[in-house]
Protein backbone atom coordinates (compact mmCIF):
# COMPACT_ATOMS: atom_id res chain seq x y z
CA UNK A 1 0.00 0.00 0.00
CA UNK A 2 1.26 3.40 -0.86
CA UNK A 3 0.64 5.90 1.87
CA UNK A 4 0.28 9.47 0.76
CA UNK A 5 0.38 12.48 2.97
CA UNK A 6 -1.32 15.76 2.48
CA UNK A 7 0.95 18.72 1.97
CA UNK A 8 1.31 20.74 5.13
CA UNK A 9 -1.70 22.89 5.89
CA UNK A 10 -1.58 26.54 4.96
CA UNK A 11 1.41 26.30 2.69
CA UNK A 12 -0.34 26.83 -0.62
CA UNK A 13 -0.75 30.56 -0.74
CA UNK A 14 2.30 31.74 1.11
CA UNK A 15 5.77 32.81 0.14
CA UNK A 16 7.97 30.84 -2.26
CA UNK A 17 8.79 27.33 -1.17
CA UNK A 18 12.53 27.00 -1.18
CA UNK A 19 12.41 23.30 -0.33
CA UNK A 20 9.72 21.01 -1.60
CA UNK A 21 9.44 17.27 -1.11
CA UNK A 22 6.74 15.11 -2.58
CA UNK A 23 6.36 11.47 -1.56
CA UNK A 24 10.06 11.33 -0.88
CA UNK A 25 11.08 7.76 -0.11
CA UNK A 26 14.37 6.05 0.61
CA UNK A 27 14.62 2.30 0.82
CA UNK A 28 17.91 0.72 1.80
CA UNK A 29 18.76 -2.83 0.76
CA UNK A 30 15.36 -3.11 -0.93
CA UNK A 31 13.49 -3.67 2.33
CA UNK A 32 14.43 -1.09 4.94
CA UNK A 33 12.29 2.00 4.47
CA UNK A 34 14.30 4.76 6.11
CA UNK A 35 11.99 7.45 4.74
CA UNK A 36 8.49 6.54 3.64
CA UNK A 37 6.58 8.84 1.28
CA UNK A 38 7.06 12.11 3.08
CA UNK A 39 5.83 15.40 1.67
CA UNK A 40 6.58 18.81 3.07
CA UNK A 41 7.73 22.23 2.07
CA UNK A 42 9.82 24.96 3.59
CA UNK A 43 9.31 28.61 2.82
CA UNK A 44 12.08 30.99 2.02
CA UNK A 45 13.40 32.53 5.24
CA UNK A 46 11.86 29.91 7.47
CA UNK A 47 13.57 28.03 10.27
CA UNK A 48 12.23 24.54 9.83
CA UNK A 49 12.95 21.62 12.11
CA UNK A 50 12.72 17.90 11.69
CA UNK A 51 12.39 16.21 15.03
CA UNK A 52 12.26 12.53 15.79
CA UNK A 53 13.97 9.76 17.66
CA UNK A 54 17.18 8.19 16.41
CA UNK A 55 16.72 6.23 13.24
CA UNK A 56 13.50 8.08 12.43
CA UNK A 57 14.78 9.16 9.02
CA UNK A 58 16.00 12.67 9.75
CA UNK A 59 19.54 12.26 8.49
CA UNK A 60 18.37 10.25 5.48
CA UNK A 61 16.05 13.11 4.55
CA UNK A 62 18.88 15.63 4.84
CA UNK A 63 21.06 13.35 2.74
CA UNK A 64 18.45 13.28 -0.01
CA UNK A 65 17.98 17.05 0.09
CA UNK A 66 21.73 17.69 0.01
CA UNK A 67 22.32 15.31 -2.94
CA UNK A 68 24.19 12.72 -0.88
CA UNK A 69 21.51 10.07 -1.23
CA UNK A 70 19.16 9.45 -4.13
CA UNK A 71 15.46 8.99 -3.52
CA UNK A 72 14.04 5.55 -4.25
CA UNK A 73 10.70 7.18 -4.99
CA UNK A 74 9.22 10.64 -5.08
CA UNK A 75 11.10 13.86 -5.65
CA UNK A 76 12.46 16.93 -4.01
CA UNK A 77 13.51 20.36 -5.11
CA UNK A 78 15.88 22.64 -3.30
CA UNK A 79 16.31 26.31 -4.24
CA UNK A 80 14.22 25.66 -7.33
CA UNK A 81 16.33 22.77 -8.62
CA UNK A 82 15.42 19.11 -8.72
CA UNK A 83 17.92 17.33 -6.46
CA UNK A 84 18.07 14.27 -8.71
CA UNK A 85 18.28 16.04 -12.06
CA UNK A 86 20.41 19.00 -11.14
CA UNK A 87 22.50 18.12 -8.09
CA UNK A 88 25.30 20.48 -9.11
CA UNK A 89 23.03 23.53 -9.00
CA UNK A 90 21.62 22.45 -5.63
CA UNK A 91 25.15 22.09 -4.20
CA UNK A 92 25.93 25.69 -5.24
CA UNK A 93 23.04 27.03 -3.20
CA UNK A 94 23.26 25.07 0.01
CA UNK A 95 25.46 25.02 3.07
CA UNK A 96 25.65 21.76 4.93
CA UNK A 97 26.67 21.37 8.56
CA UNK A 98 26.83 17.65 9.24
CA UNK A 99 26.50 15.86 12.55
CA UNK A 100 30.12 14.82 12.29
CA UNK A 101 32.88 17.30 12.99
CA UNK A 102 34.74 17.31 9.71
CA UNK A 103 37.22 20.14 10.22
CA UNK A 104 40.80 18.91 9.94
CA UNK A 105 42.57 18.61 13.29
CA UNK A 106 45.96 19.46 11.82
CA UNK A 107 44.77 22.56 10.02
CA UNK A 108 44.18 25.90 11.69
CA UNK A 109 40.66 27.23 12.17
CA UNK A 110 41.01 29.78 9.42
CA UNK A 111 42.63 27.27 7.05
CA UNK A 112 39.63 25.01 7.37
CA UNK A 113 37.39 27.93 6.53
CA UNK A 114 39.43 28.96 3.51
CA UNK A 115 39.51 25.39 2.20
CA UNK A 116 35.75 25.28 2.49
CA UNK A 117 35.60 28.57 0.59
CA UNK A 118 37.84 27.18 -2.18
CA UNK A 119 35.63 24.13 -2.58
CA UNK A 120 32.68 26.46 -3.03
CA UNK A 121 34.60 28.60 -5.51
CA UNK A 122 34.60 31.77 -3.43
CA UNK A 123 37.31 34.12 -4.76
CA UNK A 124 40.28 34.41 -2.40
CA UNK A 125 39.94 38.02 -1.30
CA UNK A 126 36.21 37.63 -0.73
CA UNK A 127 36.81 34.41 1.21
CA UNK A 128 39.25 36.16 3.56
CA UNK A 129 36.75 38.89 4.32
CA UNK A 130 33.96 36.42 4.84
CA UNK A 131 36.12 34.20 7.05
CA UNK A 132 36.98 37.17 9.24
CA UNK A 133 33.33 38.15 9.47
CA UNK A 134 32.22 34.63 10.43
CA UNK A 135 35.00 34.13 12.93
CA UNK A 136 33.91 37.34 14.61
CA UNK A 137 30.24 36.46 14.48
CA UNK A 138 30.84 33.04 16.01
CA UNK A 139 33.39 34.40 18.48
CA UNK A 140 36.26 32.36 17.15
CA UNK A 141 38.69 35.19 16.24
CA UNK A 142 41.05 34.20 19.02
CA UNK A 143 41.21 30.62 17.82
CA UNK A 144 41.53 31.33 14.10
CA UNK A 145 45.28 30.69 14.01
CA UNK A 146 45.17 27.62 16.23
CA UNK A 147 45.06 24.05 15.03
CA UNK A 148 41.60 22.58 15.36
CA UNK A 149 42.88 19.77 17.56
CA UNK A 150 43.13 22.32 20.37
CA UNK A 151 39.45 23.33 20.03
CA UNK A 152 36.71 22.47 22.52
CA UNK A 153 33.54 20.71 21.39
CA UNK A 154 31.59 23.95 21.27
CA UNK A 155 34.30 25.69 19.24
CA UNK A 156 34.38 22.81 16.78
CA UNK A 157 30.61 23.03 16.33
CA UNK A 158 30.89 26.77 15.72
CA UNK A 159 33.72 26.31 13.23
CA UNK A 160 31.64 23.67 11.48
CA UNK A 161 28.79 26.17 11.27
CA UNK A 162 31.16 28.79 9.84
CA UNK A 163 32.40 26.28 7.23
CA UNK A 164 28.82 25.78 6.11
CA UNK A 165 28.30 29.54 5.77
CA UNK A 166 31.50 30.67 4.06
CA UNK A 167 29.91 30.80 0.59
CA UNK A 168 26.74 32.67 1.62
CA UNK A 169 24.34 29.80 1.01
CA UNK A 170 20.64 30.46 0.52
CA UNK A 171 19.75 27.45 2.59
CA UNK A 172 21.59 26.03 5.55
CA UNK A 173 21.17 22.38 6.48
CA UNK A 174 22.00 21.64 10.08
CA UNK A 175 22.06 18.03 11.17
CA UNK A 176 21.89 17.92 14.97
CA UNK A 177 23.76 21.20 15.37
CA UNK A 178 24.15 20.96 19.15
CA UNK A 179 24.67 17.22 19.50
CA UNK A 180 26.82 16.48 22.49
CA UNK A 181 27.11 20.06 23.73
CA UNK A 182 26.35 21.13 27.27
CA UNK A 183 23.25 23.24 27.84
CA UNK A 184 25.12 26.55 28.11
CA UNK A 185 27.02 26.04 24.87
CA UNK A 186 23.87 24.76 23.25
CA UNK A 187 21.97 27.92 24.10
CA UNK A 188 24.78 30.00 22.59
CA UNK A 189 24.48 27.97 19.40
CA UNK A 190 20.75 28.69 19.37
CA UNK A 191 21.46 32.41 19.46
CA UNK A 192 23.83 32.11 16.50
CA UNK A 193 21.37 30.05 14.49
CA UNK A 194 18.48 32.36 15.29
CA UNK A 195 20.53 35.41 14.30
CA UNK A 196 21.60 33.85 11.02
CA UNK A 197 18.01 33.15 10.20
CA UNK A 198 16.49 36.44 11.39
CA UNK A 199 19.24 38.89 10.53
CA UNK A 200 20.78 37.32 7.45
CA UNK A 201 17.60 35.82 6.09
CA UNK A 202 19.09 32.36 5.60
CA UNK A 203 16.56 29.59 5.36
CA UNK A 204 17.43 26.89 7.87
CA UNK A 205 16.47 23.24 7.67
CA UNK A 206 17.57 21.48 10.82
CA UNK A 207 17.17 18.18 12.53
CA UNK A 208 17.34 17.66 16.22
CA UNK A 209 16.29 15.22 18.83
CA UNK A 210 16.36 17.87 21.54
CA UNK A 211 12.75 18.99 21.83
CA UNK A 212 13.51 22.18 23.73
CA UNK A 213 15.84 23.11 20.89
CA UNK A 214 13.10 22.71 18.30
CA UNK A 215 10.71 24.61 20.55
CA UNK A 216 13.09 27.49 21.10
CA UNK A 217 14.34 27.83 17.52
CA UNK A 218 11.95 26.62 14.90
CA UNK A 219 9.17 28.50 13.17
CA UNK A 220 7.71 25.23 12.12
CA UNK A 221 8.51 21.61 12.89
CA UNK A 222 7.62 18.21 11.55
CA UNK A 223 7.68 15.19 13.84
CA UNK A 224 9.06 12.21 12.00
CA UNK A 225 9.03 8.66 13.26
CA UNK A 226 9.72 5.42 11.43
CA UNK A 227 10.25 7.38 8.23
CA UNK A 228 6.81 9.00 8.32
CA UNK A 229 5.81 12.58 9.19
CA UNK A 230 3.34 12.18 12.02
CA UNK A 231 2.53 15.80 12.67
CA UNK A 232 3.64 19.24 11.61
CA UNK A 233 3.02 22.87 12.42
CA UNK A 234 4.46 25.64 14.58
CA UNK A 235 5.58 24.49 18.04
CA UNK A 236 2.82 26.54 19.70
CA UNK A 237 0.20 25.13 17.33
CA UNK A 238 1.27 21.61 18.09
CA UNK A 239 1.35 22.21 21.79
CA UNK A 240 -2.11 23.78 21.74
CA UNK A 241 -3.52 21.06 19.51
CA UNK A 242 -1.94 18.01 21.01
CA UNK A 243 -0.49 19.00 24.29
CA UNK A 244 -2.79 21.20 26.28
CA UNK A 245 -2.17 22.57 29.73
CA UNK A 246 -2.43 20.06 32.54
CA UNK A 247 -3.97 21.04 35.82
CA UNK A 248 -3.31 18.74 38.73
CA UNK A 249 -5.73 19.08 41.63
CA UNK A 250 -5.94 17.44 45.00
CA UNK A 251 -9.18 17.71 46.93
CA UNK A 252 -9.74 17.14 50.62
CA UNK A 253 -12.93 15.15 50.22
CA UNK A 254 -13.32 11.83 48.47
CA UNK A 255 -16.43 12.56 46.37
CA UNK A 256 -15.80 11.94 42.67
CA UNK A 257 -16.57 15.05 40.63
CA UNK A 258 -14.93 13.90 37.39
CA UNK A 259 -18.20 14.12 35.46
CA UNK A 260 -18.86 17.65 36.60
CA UNK A 261 -15.37 18.75 35.69
CA UNK A 262 -15.51 17.00 32.36
CA UNK A 263 -18.52 19.08 31.28
CA UNK A 264 -16.79 22.40 31.76
CA UNK A 265 -15.94 24.20 28.55
CA UNK A 266 -12.29 23.98 27.43
CA UNK A 267 -11.67 20.91 29.58
CA UNK A 268 -10.78 18.08 27.26
CA UNK A 269 -9.92 15.24 29.56
CA UNK A 270 -10.24 14.35 33.24
CA UNK A 271 -8.38 11.55 34.94
CA UNK A 272 -8.75 10.65 38.59
CA UNK A 273 -6.26 8.69 40.57
CA UNK A 274 -6.86 8.40 44.31
CA UNK A 275 -7.56 11.99 45.43
CA UNK A 276 -5.71 13.54 42.51
CA UNK A 277 -7.37 14.82 39.36
CA UNK A 278 -5.42 15.36 36.18
CA UNK A 279 -7.32 17.77 34.01
CA UNK A 280 -6.33 18.66 30.48
CA UNK A 281 -7.26 22.19 29.41
CA UNK A 282 -7.15 24.07 26.14
CA UNK A 283 -7.82 27.62 27.35
CA UNK A 284 -6.55 28.00 30.89
CA UNK A 285 -8.00 31.51 31.31
CA UNK A 286 -11.55 30.19 30.75
CA UNK A 287 -11.35 26.76 32.27
CA UNK A 288 -9.49 27.45 35.49
CA UNK A 289 -12.00 29.92 37.06
CA UNK A 290 -14.86 27.62 36.04
CA UNK A 291 -13.23 24.62 37.67
CA UNK A 292 -12.54 26.45 40.91
CA UNK A 293 -16.10 27.79 40.93
CA UNK A 294 -17.56 24.30 40.49
CA UNK A 295 -15.44 22.89 43.27
CA UNK A 296 -16.40 25.70 45.65
CA UNK A 297 -20.08 25.22 44.76
CA UNK A 298 -19.83 21.59 45.79
CA UNK A 299 -18.38 22.71 49.10
CA UNK A 300 -15.06 20.94 48.45
CA UNK A 301 -11.62 22.24 49.32
CA UNK A 302 -8.49 22.22 47.22
CA UNK A 303 -5.46 20.97 49.13
CA UNK A 304 -2.96 21.18 46.29
CA UNK A 305 -2.95 22.66 42.81
CA UNK A 306 -0.31 22.77 40.05
CA UNK A 307 -0.52 23.97 36.48
CA UNK A 308 1.82 22.54 33.85
CA UNK A 309 2.31 24.36 30.56
CA UNK A 310 2.22 22.11 27.51
CA UNK A 311 5.60 20.99 26.26
CA UNK A 312 6.75 19.49 23.01
CA UNK A 313 7.83 16.46 25.01
CA UNK A 314 4.20 15.83 25.77
CA UNK A 315 3.23 16.11 22.12
CA UNK A 316 6.12 13.98 21.11
CA UNK A 317 5.39 11.23 23.58
CA UNK A 318 1.83 11.15 22.43
CA UNK A 319 2.82 10.87 18.79
CA UNK A 320 5.70 8.45 18.96
CA UNK A 321 4.97 6.72 22.25
CA UNK A 322 8.67 6.88 22.79
CA UNK A 323 11.10 8.91 24.78
CA UNK A 324 13.95 10.51 22.92
CA UNK A 325 16.93 8.31 23.06
CA UNK A 326 20.15 10.18 23.42
CA UNK A 327 23.19 9.86 21.19
CA UNK A 328 23.68 10.23 17.49
CA UNK A 329 21.76 8.42 14.82
CA UNK A 330 23.29 6.47 11.95
CA UNK A 331 26.99 6.37 11.31
CA UNK A 332 29.26 3.53 12.23
CA UNK A 333 30.62 3.03 15.69
CA UNK A 334 34.13 4.14 14.72
CA UNK A 335 32.87 7.50 13.52
CA UNK A 336 30.81 7.81 16.69
CA UNK A 337 33.80 7.22 18.90
CA UNK A 338 35.83 9.86 17.08
CA UNK A 339 32.92 12.29 17.36
CA UNK A 340 32.71 11.79 21.10
CA UNK A 341 36.47 12.21 21.36
CA UNK A 342 36.35 15.47 19.41
CA UNK A 343 33.52 16.86 21.51
CA UNK A 344 35.49 16.49 24.70
Amino acid sequence: MVRRQRPLKGIENMKTNIIEAANLTKTYKKTVKAVDHISFSVEEGELFGFIGPNGAGKTTTIKMLTTLASATEGKASVAGYDVAKNPGAVREKIGVVPQELTADDELKGVENLLLSAKLHHVPNDKARGKAKELLELLELEGAAQRQVKTFSGGMRRRLQLAMGLIHDPKILFLDEPTLGLDIQTRQNMWTYIRDLNRKKGITVFMTTHYLEEADSLCDRIAIIDNGVIKLSGSPSELKAKRGGTILTLQLTDGADISDVLGEIQDVTEVEKEAETYKIKLTKTENALPAIVENITKKGLKISDITLAKPTLDQVFLQITGDNMRDGAANGDSFGQRILIERLK
Binding site: T67, A69, H120
Partner: protein
Amino acid sequence: MFADTFALTARSLKKWIRNPAAIMPGLFMAVFWLALFGSSFNPVNLVPTQIGGTALSPVLVEQIKSAMTSVFGGAANYITFITAGVISFIVIINMAYGGIDIVLDRQLGYLNSLLSAPISRASIFFSGVMQNFVKAMFIALLTFIVAILLPNGLQFGAGFGVLNLLGILVAFGLLTFGFGCLFTALAFSVKNVDSLVAIVNFLAFPLIFMSSAIFPLGTFPSWLKGIAEVNPITKASETTRLLIVNGNLTAAQFSTLTGNMLYLAITAVLLAIIGYLIARKALKAE
Protein backbone atom coordinates in the same frame (compact mmCIF):
# COMPACT_ATOMS: atom_id res chain seq x y z
CA MET B 1 38.33 20.86 -11.70
CA PHE B 2 42.10 21.38 -11.49
CA ALA B 3 41.72 24.11 -8.90
CA ASP B 4 39.56 21.81 -6.74
CA THR B 5 41.96 18.90 -7.16
CA PHE B 6 44.81 21.18 -6.21
CA ALA B 7 43.02 22.59 -3.15
CA LEU B 8 42.17 19.13 -1.85
CA THR B 9 45.64 17.76 -2.54
CA ALA B 10 47.16 20.75 -0.76
CA ARG B 11 44.94 20.06 2.25
CA SER B 12 46.25 16.52 2.61
CA LEU B 13 49.84 17.46 2.04
CA LYS B 14 49.62 20.25 4.61
CA LYS B 15 48.43 17.68 7.13
CA TRP B 16 51.29 15.41 6.08
CA ILE B 17 53.97 18.08 6.38
CA ARG B 18 52.73 19.05 9.85
CA ASN B 19 53.20 15.50 10.97
CA PRO B 20 56.78 14.70 9.91
CA ALA B 21 56.68 11.37 11.76
CA ALA B 22 54.38 10.15 9.01
CA ILE B 23 57.33 9.49 6.66
CA MET B 24 59.19 7.40 9.21
CA PRO B 25 57.51 4.04 8.46
CA GLY B 26 58.29 4.46 4.75
CA LEU B 27 61.84 5.45 5.46
CA PHE B 28 62.42 2.60 7.88
CA MET B 29 61.09 0.15 5.34
CA ALA B 30 63.51 1.49 2.74
CA VAL B 31 66.50 1.33 5.07
CA PHE B 32 65.71 -2.21 6.25
CA TRP B 33 65.16 -3.55 2.77
CA LEU B 34 68.32 -2.00 1.42
CA ALA B 35 70.71 -2.20 4.34
CA LEU B 36 69.63 -5.55 5.74
CA PHE B 37 68.00 -7.49 2.94
CA GLY B 38 70.12 -5.97 0.15
CA SER B 39 73.45 -6.35 1.97
CA SER B 40 72.87 -9.91 3.07
CA PHE B 41 73.01 -11.28 -0.42
CA ASN B 42 75.39 -10.87 -3.31
CA PRO B 43 75.12 -13.24 -6.27
CA VAL B 44 78.84 -13.25 -7.06
CA ASN B 45 79.55 -14.65 -3.58
CA LEU B 46 77.75 -17.82 -4.66
CA VAL B 47 80.50 -18.60 -7.17
CA PRO B 48 82.89 -21.19 -5.69
CA THR B 49 86.63 -20.87 -6.12
CA GLN B 50 87.20 -24.58 -5.57
CA ILE B 51 85.13 -27.75 -5.83
CA GLY B 52 86.01 -30.85 -3.78
CA GLY B 53 89.44 -29.49 -2.90
CA THR B 54 90.30 -28.70 -6.52
CA ALA B 55 90.84 -25.04 -7.16
CA LEU B 56 88.96 -23.61 -10.14
CA SER B 57 90.86 -21.58 -12.61
CA PRO B 58 90.61 -17.87 -11.71
CA VAL B 59 89.68 -17.15 -15.32
CA LEU B 60 86.73 -19.55 -15.08
CA VAL B 61 85.66 -18.05 -11.76
CA GLU B 62 85.69 -14.58 -13.28
CA GLN B 63 83.71 -15.85 -16.27
CA ILE B 64 81.06 -17.39 -14.01
CA LYS B 65 80.94 -14.23 -11.92
CA SER B 66 80.43 -12.11 -15.00
CA ALA B 67 77.70 -14.46 -16.27
CA MET B 68 76.05 -14.21 -12.86
CA THR B 69 76.27 -10.41 -12.94
CA SER B 70 74.64 -10.28 -16.34
CA VAL B 71 71.70 -12.32 -15.02
CA PHE B 72 71.34 -9.48 -12.52
CA GLY B 73 71.27 -6.91 -15.30
CA GLY B 74 74.95 -6.07 -14.95
CA ALA B 75 74.48 -4.66 -11.45
CA ALA B 76 77.74 -4.32 -9.55
CA ASN B 77 76.16 -5.69 -6.39
CA TYR B 78 72.79 -6.84 -5.14
CA ILE B 79 71.90 -3.43 -3.65
CA THR B 80 72.37 -1.91 -7.09
CA PHE B 81 69.99 -4.54 -8.46
CA ILE B 82 67.40 -4.37 -5.73
CA THR B 83 67.18 -0.58 -5.38
CA ALA B 84 64.74 -0.46 -8.29
CA GLY B 85 62.76 -3.29 -6.69
CA VAL B 86 62.71 -1.65 -3.27
CA ILE B 87 61.50 1.60 -4.80
CA SER B 88 58.75 -0.31 -6.64
CA PHE B 89 57.81 -1.98 -3.41
CA ILE B 90 57.81 1.34 -1.54
CA VAL B 91 55.64 3.18 -4.04
CA ILE B 92 53.14 0.33 -4.38
CA ILE B 93 52.82 -0.13 -0.62
CA ASN B 94 52.55 3.61 -0.02
CA MET B 95 49.85 4.04 -2.63
CA ALA B 96 48.00 1.01 -1.32
CA TYR B 97 48.06 1.89 2.36
CA GLY B 98 47.66 5.59 1.59
CA GLY B 99 44.06 4.65 0.93
CA ILE B 100 43.53 4.33 4.67
CA ASP B 101 43.29 8.13 4.91
CA ILE B 102 40.56 8.03 2.31
CA VAL B 103 38.59 5.38 4.20
CA LEU B 104 38.96 7.46 7.38
CA ASP B 105 37.69 10.53 5.53
CA ARG B 106 34.60 8.55 4.65
CA GLN B 107 34.10 7.23 8.17
CA LEU B 108 34.54 10.62 9.75
CA GLY B 109 32.03 12.26 7.42
CA TYR B 110 34.62 14.38 5.62
CA LEU B 111 33.89 12.71 2.31
CA ASN B 112 30.21 13.63 2.63
CA SER B 113 31.10 17.26 3.10
CA LEU B 114 33.06 17.08 -0.16
CA LEU B 115 30.22 15.31 -1.93
CA SER B 116 27.71 17.99 -0.95
CA ALA B 117 30.06 20.72 -2.23
CA PRO B 118 29.84 21.90 -5.84
CA ILE B 119 33.04 20.16 -6.97
CA SER B 120 33.43 17.50 -9.61
CA ARG B 121 33.63 13.89 -8.47
CA ALA B 122 36.74 13.54 -10.62
CA SER B 123 38.56 16.13 -8.53
CA ILE B 124 37.69 14.21 -5.37
CA PHE B 125 39.15 11.07 -6.91
CA PHE B 126 42.25 12.59 -8.45
CA SER B 127 43.09 14.58 -5.33
CA GLY B 128 43.01 11.24 -3.51
CA VAL B 129 45.49 9.89 -6.05
CA MET B 130 47.72 12.95 -6.06
CA GLN B 131 48.07 13.27 -2.29
CA ASN B 132 49.43 9.73 -2.11
CA PHE B 133 51.41 10.15 -5.31
CA VAL B 134 53.40 13.05 -3.90
CA LYS B 135 54.05 11.20 -0.64
CA ALA B 136 55.06 7.98 -2.41
CA MET B 137 57.41 9.76 -4.82
CA PHE B 138 59.01 11.67 -1.97
CA ILE B 139 59.71 8.46 -0.07
CA ALA B 140 60.94 6.87 -3.31
CA LEU B 141 63.45 9.69 -3.66
CA LEU B 142 64.58 9.22 -0.06
CA THR B 143 64.99 5.50 -0.74
CA PHE B 144 67.19 6.27 -3.70
CA ILE B 145 69.35 8.56 -1.59
CA VAL B 146 69.60 5.92 1.16
CA ALA B 147 70.77 3.37 -1.45
CA ILE B 148 73.52 5.73 -2.59
CA LEU B 149 74.64 6.57 0.94
CA LEU B 150 74.89 2.98 2.15
CA PRO B 151 78.44 1.61 2.38
CA ASN B 152 79.00 -0.65 -0.59
CA GLY B 153 75.61 0.54 -1.80
CA LEU B 154 74.20 1.61 -5.13
CA GLN B 155 76.86 1.87 -7.84
CA PHE B 156 76.18 3.82 -11.00
CA GLY B 157 77.55 2.89 -14.40
CA ALA B 158 79.97 5.30 -16.03
CA GLY B 159 78.23 8.30 -17.55
CA PHE B 160 75.18 8.28 -15.26
CA GLY B 161 73.70 11.77 -15.45
CA VAL B 162 70.69 13.98 -14.96
CA LEU B 163 68.88 12.45 -17.92
CA ASN B 164 69.21 8.99 -16.40
CA LEU B 165 67.78 10.27 -13.13
CA LEU B 166 64.95 11.95 -15.00
CA GLY B 167 64.20 8.71 -16.83
CA ILE B 168 64.03 6.84 -13.52
CA LEU B 169 61.65 9.45 -12.11
CA VAL B 170 59.39 9.24 -15.15
CA ALA B 171 59.30 5.43 -15.03
CA PHE B 172 58.37 5.39 -11.34
CA GLY B 173 56.03 8.35 -11.78
CA LEU B 174 54.02 6.39 -14.34
CA LEU B 175 54.05 3.22 -12.24
CA THR B 176 53.04 5.09 -9.09
CA PHE B 177 50.30 7.05 -10.80
CA GLY B 178 48.77 4.00 -12.52
CA PHE B 179 48.63 1.73 -9.49
CA GLY B 180 47.81 4.75 -7.36
CA CYS B 181 44.62 5.24 -9.37
CA LEU B 182 43.67 1.61 -8.89
CA PHE B 183 44.35 1.51 -5.15
CA THR B 184 42.72 4.90 -4.55
CA ALA B 185 39.60 3.76 -6.36
CA LEU B 186 39.49 0.68 -4.14
CA ALA B 187 39.87 2.88 -1.06
CA PHE B 188 36.85 4.93 -2.17
CA SER B 189 34.87 1.72 -2.65
CA VAL B 190 35.31 0.11 0.76
CA LYS B 191 33.61 1.16 3.97
CA ASN B 192 36.26 0.27 6.55
CA VAL B 193 39.99 -0.02 6.97
CA ASP B 194 39.96 -3.79 7.52
CA SER B 195 38.47 -4.45 4.10
CA LEU B 196 40.98 -2.15 2.48
CA VAL B 197 43.94 -3.84 4.18
CA ALA B 198 42.61 -7.25 3.14
CA ILE B 199 42.26 -6.22 -0.50
CA VAL B 200 45.58 -4.43 -0.53
CA ASN B 201 47.48 -7.38 0.90
CA PHE B 202 45.81 -9.67 -1.56
CA LEU B 203 46.83 -7.45 -4.49
CA ALA B 204 50.06 -5.70 -3.57
CA PHE B 205 52.22 -8.63 -2.51
CA PRO B 206 51.55 -10.90 -5.50
CA LEU B 207 52.03 -7.88 -7.75
CA ILE B 208 55.48 -7.31 -6.29
CA PHE B 209 56.55 -10.96 -6.14
CA MET B 210 55.35 -11.63 -9.68
CA SER B 211 57.84 -9.10 -11.01
CA SER B 212 61.59 -8.73 -11.27
CA ALA B 213 61.60 -6.33 -8.31
CA ILE B 214 63.53 -8.64 -5.98
CA PHE B 215 64.98 -11.40 -8.18
CA PRO B 216 65.97 -11.36 -11.86
CA LEU B 217 63.59 -12.83 -14.41
CA GLY B 218 66.33 -15.26 -15.48
CA THR B 219 65.81 -17.28 -12.29
CA PHE B 220 61.99 -17.54 -12.63
CA PRO B 221 60.12 -20.70 -13.67
CA SER B 222 58.59 -20.15 -17.07
CA TRP B 223 54.95 -19.77 -15.90
CA LEU B 224 55.92 -17.03 -13.45
CA LYS B 225 58.25 -15.45 -15.95
CA GLY B 226 55.36 -15.09 -18.41
CA ILE B 227 53.32 -13.16 -15.86
CA ALA B 228 56.26 -11.15 -14.56
CA GLU B 229 57.23 -10.01 -18.05
CA VAL B 230 53.96 -8.12 -18.54
CA ASN B 231 53.91 -6.73 -15.01
CA PRO B 232 54.42 -2.94 -15.07
CA ILE B 233 56.55 -3.28 -11.93
CA THR B 234 59.00 -5.38 -13.98
CA LYS B 235 59.05 -2.72 -16.67
CA ALA B 236 59.74 0.08 -14.19
CA SER B 237 62.40 -1.97 -12.35
CA GLU B 238 64.17 -3.04 -15.54
CA THR B 239 64.09 0.48 -16.93
CA THR B 240 65.60 1.82 -13.73
CA ARG B 241 68.35 -0.82 -13.72
CA LEU B 242 69.12 -0.09 -17.32
CA LEU B 243 69.54 3.58 -16.46
CA ILE B 244 71.58 2.94 -13.31
CA VAL B 245 73.95 0.32 -14.68
CA ASN B 246 74.52 1.91 -18.07
CA GLY B 247 75.37 5.58 -18.12
CA ASN B 248 75.13 6.09 -21.86
CA LEU B 249 72.65 3.79 -23.53
CA THR B 250 73.32 1.94 -26.77
CA ALA B 251 70.75 2.20 -29.53
CA ALA B 252 69.32 -1.19 -28.58
CA GLN B 253 69.12 -0.25 -24.91
CA PHE B 254 67.48 3.03 -25.84
CA SER B 255 64.81 1.27 -27.83
CA THR B 256 64.14 -1.08 -24.88
CA LEU B 257 63.82 2.02 -22.71
CA THR B 258 61.37 3.70 -25.10
CA GLY B 259 59.31 0.50 -25.33
CA ASN B 260 59.16 0.19 -21.55
CA MET B 261 58.20 3.84 -21.09
CA LEU B 262 55.45 3.52 -23.67
CA TYR B 263 54.21 0.39 -21.95
CA LEU B 264 54.21 2.15 -18.55
CA ALA B 265 52.42 5.18 -20.00
CA ILE B 266 49.69 3.08 -21.59
CA THR B 267 49.11 1.02 -18.44
CA ALA B 268 49.05 4.23 -16.38
CA VAL B 269 46.34 5.70 -18.59
CA LEU B 270 44.35 2.45 -18.58
CA LEU B 271 44.58 2.12 -14.80
CA ALA B 272 43.58 5.77 -14.42
CA ILE B 273 40.47 5.19 -16.54
CA ILE B 274 39.56 1.97 -14.71
CA GLY B 275 40.22 3.63 -11.35
CA TYR B 276 38.12 6.66 -12.21
CA LEU B 277 35.21 4.48 -13.33
CA ILE B 278 35.34 2.46 -10.10
CA ALA B 279 35.58 5.63 -8.00
CA ARG B 280 32.75 7.36 -9.86
CA LYS B 281 30.48 4.47 -9.00
CA ALA B 282 31.62 4.57 -5.37
CA LEU B 283 31.06 8.33 -5.11
CA LYS B 284 27.54 8.25 -6.51
CA ALA B 285 24.66 9.33 -4.25
CA GLU B 286 23.94 6.35 -2.02
